[in-house]
Amino acid sequence: MAAGGRGVADPLSPAGVPCAFSPLNQAYFALASADGQLRVWETANNRLHQEYVPSAHLSGTCTCLAWAPARLQAKESPQRKKRKSEAIGPSNQIDLLALGTAVGSILLYSTVKGELHSKLISGGHDNKVNCIQWHQDNGCLYSCSDDKHIVEWNTQTCKVKCKWKGDNSSVSSLCISPDGKMLLSAGRTIKLWVLETKEIYRHFTGHATPVSSLVFTTVRPPSESQPFDGVTGLYFLSGAVHDRLLNVWQVRSENKEKNAVMSFTVTDEPVYIDLTLSENKEEPVKLAVVCKDGQVHLFEHILNGYCKKPLTSNCTIQIVTPGKGKKSTPKPIPILAAGFCSDKMSLLLVYGNWFQPTIERVALSSKEPHMCLVRDISNCWAPKVETAITKVRTPVMNSEAKVLVPGVPGHHAAIKPPPSQTEEVESKRKLGENEISIEERLGALDIDTKKEKDDLPQTNSFPVLLTQGLESNDFEMLNKVLQTRNLNLIKRTVLRMPLHAVIPLLQELTKRLQGHPNSAVLMVQWLKCVLTVHASYLSTLPDLVPQLGTLYQLMESRVKTFQKLSHLHGKLILLITQVTASEKSKGMTCPEQKAKLVYEEGAVEAMRKGRPIYSQPEIRMSKNKSEEQNRCLRGCFGYFLRLEGQHPYKTTTRCHPCFVQISAFGSLEEKLLVLTSLWGCAFCTPDFLGLPQRNHEALPVLFSGVQVLKQSLGVSSPATRIMRRTQK
């Protein structure tokens, strides 16, 4: 039976599945599949518009279909007063679809109502209907069949108007001339009939196999010298079963002419043909031919006279699946139909399987001779019923998407070294600086070697491991070092690491800080340590800002929520650390520290005086200094927060990523500490250490606290001065 599928299809039938775009603007695509169902798709959004199963779909499979032509019709509506704005009704509704079946009946289906409109049976065909054509003006329908007859139907009454024998064998294809007065039919030969009298006007022979497709390609004759009778001089195109040539014929006035004017070669039997009619003589006819092998060939040709050599296509379109992995090769996806859009510059392609075809609008470029489109239609089989009802499409959001949060490189413009022009201007100064830095580096190297020699016997191998890890970029080795939780160990390691490894370490830490919040907790300890210990070294680097720009942005973005507080804390912690360091340096000698920094005594004194503000126990200089400092600072913060009178950390339903990451840091104090310590000791640029002068209304208490602190500390100048290198 005919329900067998494409492969078993009768050789006489058009090779592909019967399908067609709706006229005018190709809003719909109707496809009658081998299982006897008619499916109509919306071309614009590839949505299944409706499905229809004819009652006799198993015996009478649909063999051909045709949309009723769209026509403008004057609507005699009572002329009412013009409204300010009137609705555009459901314009250009194309709603009748004629289906020819394998048993000879013709169904008229209304796509608007979604039901059968009428059935043309009586007096029609008694064998398979091969082709249906609507007359563009008078509402007639022409059909041809395997029963060798052509039938003219009156669709208004659903009755046969005329039935005549079209050929000695089955008639396979029909086409109505542009003026609507002639009919082309094709069986073994192509015949041109006069519709009024049903007489043969011309014969054309040339195809060896039954003709499967016929279409007029021009509406006007090429030369306008002789008067145009509606058909003479027109070209038409024919394709045949198993024939890889499309012939072009011209209707000529002399009767004898029977050979094709020219031909187009394609790779396989043509299945679906669409063309654009040329408006004027210069504009070529564009032709899209879908072949049985699933390719589309595009031709652009101005039809004028003979051409002996068959023309090859201007462009070939193929669609393939993406080969997954290296092993599987890309497989071609068959194209079912192709139709030119109304702008003539793009093509609607229907490809995939007939069950769930994909409809895509492809823009045509005349340059490329071959277009190979890679399309993944593997998910097309997934049921789409849900989306068909809700009309919601969900774009893919997968983990591969890049995520930019504040602080991650790329979120903010990278801090670039100043442009070359300014460099030239400042070259002199730079030179001097460079010299110093080289000296310094040499010195640092010296110290490093010394230090390593000194330290190797007594301490563990952490600094060495760290240096090696940074040099070799060994992830494992770095993990071993960086994942330690022992604060003292971290401190000692940082203290003993070579100076040249500081920048690489900072960069490594920055990278890790951007990662998972859990690991970031540890990294913050390291970072804090490095920045406190090596602040002086860092401040000497001339290209510090571009080198640590990312870290800078990261910190800036992460402490944004409590900026002022962080500023203050940073300053405090810096002061305290430096104080303790200098205290310590009195007792024990640390080569680097002593050599590089000398602090003003006044600051130390002031620090001690400033104690009572916080009503804290005095800072005792015990061995476990970091703990002491932390406690002291916690006290400070408690004080400030109480004064502020509000809980700083609000649980929000939708956490800002910044919050999420900070929230992993432990208790509230811990969080603030992390935030602030992260911030405070960061950089010694005057801008940062400058006390918050602006917006002090916003945080008056904090600001006044700072003022008091400043007074008590006796620090009137920006804190940078404390930090400045006095060695030289």
Binding site: N25, A44, S85, E86, I88, S122, S342, I389, P395, H412
Partner: protein, 808 residues
């Protein structure tokens, strides 16, 4: 060439579909819904609009099927607020009217005068209920029209038609907090029993019984909704009650018990109306996002009739997707809707935010505030924001890449907090020479950021991603607008009152323009030959045009511009200004300050957004005034979200369905069922037809009977008396009838044989029939001859038994 008519404003996208309950046709094949001034008839199977009923000149407020004639519908509008019909009250309908005071409404019964005209003016009003709610949801007729129930505020009034009495039941109002939200919101009546269901503001549904007695009345409570019950409907048999509300869940209460309930969740938006088809097989729900969902009896959604989504605010403005040529704007919450202008229907909603939308009052939702297409539709940038308090702004920018392989958008880069404050503008550089896609965002935080696509490949995968390339600012002013020149070489960013021009290669500030005329509201570059001009419209109603070559002001005009849009295909720029009367359209070229085209008062409302949509096929207007419509069409959106455009086509040029054009008559096909059952009937019909035929054939024969012709043609004065002629006359008639019937018999057998063969093979039908007709023709010929020549022989047939005829 198109025949030129005046340019008119026409509406597209339709009006609200959810204004009133939709009404099913008797056979459930069609659904009638009120849409602005029209009534639209949609097919429930295909969602397509089949008819548009026009007639009103103002908003249609109610629609009902005539219960006694299913093919007739009543429609009311203008000052009448709702309409009801009852099968028992044949020639009267009920309408809600407004009496003097603005908030007092009455239900009155209107007697329809018998008239065949389309518009009826009825004068006989009889008052039914006073002081009721305006909404038709608050009126319901119960138990085949025995009573009518109306609700308002805290009371339910029931009027019994037979007794002509009104009972009133009041719920405890805001005395204590528990009952504070006891307000009635809607009412429905059981079709068979004396039972009234009322919906309340607190989400409860009360089922009232025994309400004919003021004291013995009872009610039971059904409570599932957590928010106001928007509408209620009983199924046709009354076994189940449907309810819906803001939760967007259709709840079916079976047997009026709280335990037995079924749900149809995730309907997308607040359910505003529920209606039930008279056949009982379909329900439909109207939603606040301008759609109607057709639902099967088994609670399965089967079709969606979706108009332009009008629920949400439009923040994104109007855009055109270069790929689908669809109009893109805010749609469902968190979605972008793609609306096809060619087909005038919604294509789909693209879910950008991808979070479950919790439809609840007072929740601050994530809003999609900005969107832009770039690089021929290959990129889509969207900005979403949520702001609970002033300081708690959450921003997210997403950059979507169109994946050609899968034919869909894939998220490429997600940027959290791209700026520290609201993003005011978003634009792609769409110049062809820039192979590297570039996006600019400007924000109230005083910065604009340039984002570029960079290679993000690593050893694991090849990838591209967006990174920030440059951050620019100008004296800490808020950046309000940004746009690229057509060739992409210049970027204009407005900082409040100042326009800055940046070189897009080096991101250097080239020059600044300042007009001191208020903040810049719109900014755009000229196109094509006018690319040397930059236009800016300020808040204070000044439109400025700067020349970029001379860096000077070319011209300025006083115009309170609300919308300014450049046409991508020409030099034209459309500006819509707001005046006290309405909105005016000006189309001009930057090179000359004189406008090409002015249309005053295009809309009474404020116009919020506009866009030029390139035409697929260019028009060819020759008149200068319309040339701006040749290559693009201008669409604009008013504050009430009606999408309007300019058209020159006369309304008569609209296309009608081809089925109607062709006037093809519906000949419904025969089904197998028909072959089984219809067979017998067909035969009977055939026979009756034959009987008819025989009578019909007889008439011409009368002329051939000599007795009759004699009677008729003989002059009256020579005729014998009537009694003499009578017997002869009657016998002649008898004779002819007999001969006819006699001839029919063999023919009849023939027909039956033909029919039997039909059964076996449908295809032979035609040929058989041809034979049949041939037979009858022959038979008639024969008949003629016989009746003329051999009367005597045929007299024998009188004796044949014709009793079988009486059986027929």
């Amino acid at each position: 060439m198109v025949e030129e008519e005046s340019v008119r404003v026409v509406r597209c996208g339709g009006s609200e579909l959810n204004f009133r309950r939709a009404v099913f046709s008797a056979d459930s094949k069609y659904i009638f819904c009120v849409s602005g001034d029209f009534v639209k008839v949609h097919s429930t199977a295909t969602e397509e609009c089949v008819h548009i009923l026009q007639g009103h000149r103002n908003l249609v407020t109610g629609i009902q099927l005539n219960p006694n004639n299913h093919l007739q519908t009543f429609v009311v509008g203008l000052k009448l607020h709702a309409l009801f019909t009852l099968p028992s009250a044949e020639d009267s309908v009920f309408v809600i009217i407004n009496k003097e005071k603005p908030d007092v409404f009455q239900l009155v019964s209107v007697k329809l005068p018998k008239s065949s005209s389309q518009e009826i003016e009825a004068k006989e009003l009889s008052f039914v209920l006073d002081y009721i709610n305006q909404s038709p949801k608050c009126i319901a007729f119960g138990n085949e029209g025995e009573y009518v129930a109306a609700v308002r505020d805290f009371y339910l009034s029931v009027y019994f038609f037979k007794k002509k009495t009104t009972s009133r039941f009041t719920l405890s109002s805001s005395r204590n907090k528990k009952h504070a939200k006891n307000n009635f919101t809607c009412v429905a009546c059981h079709p068979k029993e004396d039972c009234i269901a009322t919906g309340h503001k607190d989400g409860k549904i009360r089922l009232w019984r025994n309400f004919d007695d003021d004291k013995k009345y009872t009610y039971t409570c059904l409570h599932w909704h957590h928010d106001m019950v928007m509408d209620l409907a009983f199924s046709v048999t009354g076994t189940s009650l449907l309810s819906g509300g803001r939760e967007s869940v259709l709840v079916e209460w079976r047997d009026a018990t709280e335990k037995n309930k079924e749900f149809l969740p995730r309907l997308g938006a607040t359910i505003e109306h529920i209606s039930v088809s008279p056949a009982g097989d379909l329900f439909c729900t109207s939603h606040s996002d301008n759609k109607i969902i057709v639902i099967h009896r088994n609670l399965e959604a089967s079709a969606v009739i979706q108009g332009l989504v009008k629920d949400s605010n439009i923040f994104t403005g109007l855009m055109v997707d270069p790929r689908t040529k669809a109009l893109v704007l805010n749609g469902k919450p968190g979605h972008l809707q793609f609306y096809s202008l060619q087909h005038d229907k919604q294509l789909y909603n693209l879910d950008i935010i991808q979070q479950e939308y919790i439809n609840d009052y007072g929740l601050i939702q994530i809003e999609l505030t900005k969107a832009a297409f770039g690089c021929y539709g290959n990129w889509l940038a969207t900005v979403e924001q949520r702001q609970e308090k002033e300081t708690e702004l959450e921003l997210q920018m997403k950059l979507w890449m169109y994946n050609k392989k899968t034919q869909g958008f894939v998220l490429n880069t997600k940027v959290n907090m791209p700026h520290e404050d609201h993003i005011t503008a978003l634009c792609f550089c769409n110049a062809e020479k820039f192979e590297n896609p570039t996006l600019v965002t400007s924000s109230k935080d005083g910065h604009f950021k340039v984002w570029i696509l960079t290679d993000d490949s690593d050893i694991y995968k090849k990838a591209v991603g967006w990174t920030c390339d440059f951050v620019g600012s100008y004296h800490k002013y808020q950046a309000t607008n940004c746009c690229f020149s057509e060739d992409g070489s210049l970027l204009a960013v407005s900082f409040e009152e100042i326009v800055t021009i940046w070189d897009s290669e080096t991101w250097e500030l080239k020059c600044t323009f300042c007009q001191r005329a208020g903040k810049i509201r719109h900014l755009c570059f000229g196109r094509l030959t006018c690319s040397k001009y930059l236009l800016g419209a300020t808040e204070n109603g000044i439109l400025c045009c700067w020349n970029l070559l001379s860096c000077a002001l070319e011209w300025s005009a006083k115009l309170n511009v609300r919308v300014m849009e450049p046409d991508p295909n020409s030099e034209n720029i459309a500006a819509i200004s707001r005046s006290s009367v309405g909105s005016d359209l000006f189309v001009f070229k930057p090179s000359e300050p004189r406008p090409l085209y002015i249309q005053k008062n295009i809309s009474r409302e404020e116009v919020q957004w506009g866009v030029f949509v390139p035409r697929d096929v260019p028009e060819s207007f020759t008149s200068e005034a319309y040339q701006w419509l040749n290559r693009s069409q201008f669409y604009f959106l008013t504050k009430s979200q009606s999408l309007l455009t300019f058209s020159t086509k006369s309304p008569e040029e609209k296309l009608t369905p081809t089925s109607k054009q062709l006037l093809a008559e519906e000949s419904l096909p025969t089904t197998p069922f028909y072959f089984i059952l219809g067979k017998h009937r067909e035969q009977q019909d055939e026979k009756i037809n034959e009987a008819f035929e025989s009578e019909l054939v007889q008439l011409p024969l009368t002329e051939n009977i000599p007795a009759i012709s004699e009677l008729l043609h003989t002059p009256a004065h020579v005729l014998p008396s009537a009694s003499f002629l009578c017997s002869k006359f009657v016998s002649s008639l008898l004779l002819s009838k007999e001969t006819k019937s006699g001839e029919e018999i063999p023919e009849d057998v023939d027909m039956e044989e033909g029919k039997e063969s039909d059964d076996s093979d449908e295809e032979n039908d035609f040929t058989e029939k041809i034979q049949d007709t041939n037979n009858t023709d022959l038979g008639e010929d024969l008949l003629h001859q016989l009746s003329k020549s051999e009367e005597k022989e045929l007299r024998k047939f009188r004796k044949v038994d014709y009793s079988w005829i009486t059986v027929l």
